[in-house]
């Protein structure tokens, strides 16, 4: 039995806006073990990124409010930490890779200058040793000629290369938890595959837990051990990738999987899910998916379903499970 690195319990983040309070993250619970990857999928606006930001307490201020729950990293509640303590935790125990490699490095400093900071603060190195450690990190993310690349500026590198540099900075510490928020979305396909392999390798080496946010179900199948499907700020179904992909139970997961085109299938049009994702500001009491659900019942419209186990390590929020 491997150890649990991240244990999120009933996490709630609310956005206070002029149009009312939006429950962007609404009672989320999940765990991620050492060396395990949890996929987080869902439509835009379902709260995936907000969940990630809430974990590291960087949800956009002043709109975002931490409205409750606990985020336990190796047993420490991050929501109870002071701002100063959080700064120590970020970059050391939790690292994050963001979506856009074009803007994720500071354009006015060379790569070496930017890598120096995390490496120096964590390893306490300086001078030549610092330079060598930074080069070693670049080599670890497969950047050719790392010593020369340290002198390069971000605009002299390709998107894939920059994203590798971000990866190198993320493992400088090495972290207990790595959050990857759609890290390959803006890379082209061959580079995507390389980058995903690289992340996997780094994970095997350092045994960090990983949360992998994506729209791409193909990537989930390849990268993740477990997957959580989010809808309107909640996890509607969570389970092992294999179970969820072969026997999805929640109507939303079923619809999501049905919308993925399959190679060889003779299909003129892609299956789409009818309707629009709900407006989180005007959400009623019932199940958020009810208006678009093919199996909707009377009960769905008045009462939100609780989380129920439907198999080993497989939970969902749907009244269908009661049958």
């Amino acid at each position: 039995m491997s150890t649990t690195v991240l244990d999120v319990r009933e996490l709630r983040t609310h956005l206070v806006t002029r149009w009312g309070t939006i429950k962007a993250v609404d009672g989320l619970s999940f765990t991620v073990d050492e060396g395990e990857t949890l996929g987080l999928v869902g439509e835009s606006g379902s709260g995936k990124s907000m969940t990630c930001l809430s974990i590291v307490r960087l949800a956009p201020r002043p709109a975002a409010r931490e409205a409750g729950g606990r985020v336990l990293l190796d047993g420490d509640d991050l929501l109870a930490k002071s701002a100063r303590e959080m700064q120590q935790i970020r970059g050391r125990r939790v690292a994050m890779i963001l979506q856009d490699p074009m803007s994720s490095l500071n354009p006015v400093f060379s790569v070496g200058m930017q890598m120096r900071e995390p490496v120096a603060s964590y390893h306490g190195l300086r001078g030549r040793a610092l330079q060598e450690k930074a080069a070693a990190l670049l080599a670890a993310v497969r950047i050719p000629a790392p010593a020369e690349r340290l002198r390069a500026y971000p605009h002299q590198m390709s998107g894939g290369m920059r994203q590798r540099v971000v990866g190198a900075m993320a493992i400088a510490a090495p972290p207990r938890l790595l959050i990857a928020d759609e890290p390959t979305t803006s890379l082209d396909l061959t580079i995507q595959a390389q980058y995903l392999n690289l992340l996997k390798e780094l994970q095997q080496q350092h045994r960090f837990a990983m949360i992998f946010v994506t729209h791409n179900l193909g990537i989930v199948a390849r990268m993740c051990d477990r997957v959580a499907v989010m809808y309107a700020g909640r996890i509607v179904e969570i389970g092992a990738v294999r179970t969820l992909f072969t026997a999805p139970r929640h109507p939303y997961t079923q619809a999501l999987l049905a919308s993925v085109p399959r190679l060889g299938a003779k299909q003129e049009q892609l299956t789409a899910i009818d309707g629009q994702p709900p407006d989180l500001a005007t959400l009623g009491a019932g199940c958020a998916f009810a208006p678009r659900c093919a199996h909707v019942m009377e009960r769905c419209r008045v009462e939100a379903p609780p989380e129920t186990a439907v198999g080993a390590g497989h939970q969902m929020r749907c009244w269908l499970s009661a049958r």
Binding site: L58, R61, G91, A95, L98, M102, P154, M169
Partner: protein, 304 residues
């Protein structure tokens, strides 16, 4: 560096696409042609001002009524004793203009440095913290921008008395607001970029993000703005001196020299005209230099 795919990740455009922050001079070698003329003019005035005590010029404050209003050397009654003539009190025009360049340049540089340091700090803080901090600081900026510099300087001159320090303060107290506005705007765009989020995730605090990430990325703008505003400040200082609210006599200042000569422009044109030309040249040189810097550092700043 030799061959580049247009718009590719290696091209200079890619740097510029990052919110106009990646302007590296190295990336456009053909732009490296130096603006010799403006630099030359500025160098002449700076050297003249700096070396004024060693130039074996006549004392700029020594009066000699017997040689008053002597024309420049190329005029009929001119003499090599006063190559650019003398003023109403017989003081040497050349010496006064050389010493005057000290005042003008010092006022320009000191004022702009003060204003830009304060303004940039306000802009960075407002843009970074946003919300109420931003609201309060920007209302302060708006209020400042609505106040005429000349009026404030006149008030200061009347109440505290005219002096170099008061002129510098009066201009700087208003001028910072422009820097605050421009820098805040740029910080707002920078804040949207992932490297700021990435820095936060790496555990950087507010101070570190402002000094290490935001300030260096606004530096190009600051340099351009500073250069362009030096010329503006020199004009304002000269206007104040002209109005008698600037550098008090007998310290030679270009603005007050123009003022002293205006009663006899018809008979002795050089007393007003020559310091006017000096102002024109210096301001023009700084503006040209500013334009060149703007184009060289970052083509995205064209609207400044």
């Amino acid at each position: 560096m030799a061959t580049r795919v247009l718009g590719g990740p290696d091209s200079p455009d890619a740097g510029a696409a990052l919110g106009g922050v990646g302007g590296h001079v190295v990336a456009r070698p053909r732009r490296m042609k130096w603006p010799y003329v403006p630099l030359g003019i500025i160098a002449v005035f700076v050297l003249a001002g700096a070396l004024a005590p060693f130039l074996s010029l006549p004392d700029p404050q020594a009066q000699s009524l017997r040689t008053k209003l002597r024309p420049p050397v190329w005029e009929e009654r001119g003499s090599w004793a006063n190559p650019l003539g003398t003023d109403r009190l017989g003081r040497d025009m050349l010496a006064r203009m050389v010493w005057g360049s000290r005042v003008s340049l010092a006022a320009g540089v000191v004022t702009v440095l003060l204003a830009s340091a304060f303004g940039a700090a306000v802009g960075l803080v407002a843009g970074y913290y946003g919300g109420r901090v931003d609201g309060a600081l920007m209302r302060m900026t708006d209020a400042t921008l609505s106040f005429p510099i000349i009026l404030l300087a006149l008030i200061l001159a009347v109440t505290v008395g005219p002096s170099f320090t008061n002129v510098v303060l009066a201009i700087a107290v208003i001028l910072w607001a422009r820097y605050a506005r421009v820098i805040r705007g740029q910080v707002l765009t920078l804040m949207e970029l992932d490297f700021i989020a990435q820095a936060r995730i790496a555990g950087a605090g507010g101070w570190r993000i402002i000094t290490r990430h935001l300030l260096p990325n606004t530096f190009n703008t600051l340099v351009v703005l500073v250069t362009l505003q030096i010329g503006y400040v020199i004009i304002v200082e000269a206007s104040l001196s002209f109005l008698g609210a600037g550098i008090p006599p007998p310290t030679p200042a270009w603005g007050s020299m123009i003022a002293e000569g205006r009663d006899f422009v018809t008979s002795a044109w050089w007393v007003s005209f020559l310091p006017g030309i000096a102002i024109l040249l210096v301001v023009l040189a700084f503006n040209l230099l500013g334009d060149w810097l703007r184009d060289t550092l970052d083509p995205k700043l064209r609207q400044l």
